[in-house]
Subunit: 172 residues, 2 copies
């Protein structure tokens, strides 16, 4: 029987081991354009080896809950940032590493205005939008060579909305 | 009397001299995640001198039309990309350069799912959202030194929605 992962609200503190939450929080770094624009400066650690950072767009298919989590992946050569283009909440799934294996997976729900930047080498689930259209700005490594390591979870986990977080925020 | 700039729909072709339109167009570069995600790969030329590319968030105030355009700016040390987080159309204003002065300004309206990447050194208007909340993912140069050149337009221009493009797309 699959173990359950209960979805929690994403916070920068909870996520700190795995990466950065990219969001408007606290005071702006600087206000520009005659007071009309607040800049929150340099929020992500772009940790790119043997290549360059670049911007791509991802267009995803929405997932339904409960979700079977049977695969995670990691990128040994670079961090990877996802920022929604449609202020829609999405799932952020990560796992700790123990001797090269993903353990203790967790799942968070963004609030719609949050992006994330996975640190280089962090085990994470694939992009998991919950509604469509699901278009994301992605800033990650552009370069040759193998930057993808996958790990099958056997038995799989089951990601559940026991606390009703998703059903209260996402209009399918 | 101010000259009028009539807002046009943004297209990659029209914008090509000034930068790149970051959008889902054509066939995906690759499809990943068991067919659930299309990747449109490496859409922006990150042209960063004397610093590094980084991710910031901008939170802007909406502008009303007609808009008085009395200032443009350019960044001599780096390209600058804007991607909306709320699939809302915004204005993209640029000008050509003639002997260090901005000339022949133009204004485009995005379709809500488009971002732009201004090439390094291109004269452009400040971030011009038309509705709120207006949060943008920005990928530009992070570094010390002066990377901002401003130019006052005297007399100013007036950006107008003569063809009704904005009023048909933007719900204020």
């Amino acid at each position: 029987m699959a173990s359950d992962i209960v979805i929690e609200p994403l916070t920068a503190t909870a996520f700190a081991t795995f990466g950065e939450v990219l969001e408007i929080a606290g005071s702006p770094s600087v206000t520009i354009n005659r007071g009309k624009c607040h800049r929150y400066h340099d929020l992500a650690t772009l940790d790119i080896h043997d290549g360059n950072a670049g911007i791509s767009l991802f267009e995803g298919t929405a997932y339904n809950l409960p979700l079977t989590l049977d695969l995670v992946e990691r990128h040994p050569l670079g961090s990877q940032a996802f920022l929604p283009m449609s202020n829609a909440p999405f799932l952020v799934i990560v796992a700790e590493d123990e001797a090269g294996k993903p353990v203790r997976p967790r799942a968070w729900l963004t609030n719609g205005w949050q992006g994330v930047n996975y640190y280089r080498g962090i085990w994470h689930g694939v992009l998991t939008p919950l509604q469509e259209p699901a278009v994301f700005s992605v800033v990650d490594r552009i370069g040759d060579g193998s930057n993808l390591e996958e790990f099958k979870l056997d038995p799989p986990y089951r990601v559940v909305d026991t606390n009703g977080l998703v059903s209260s925020m996402v209009s399918a």
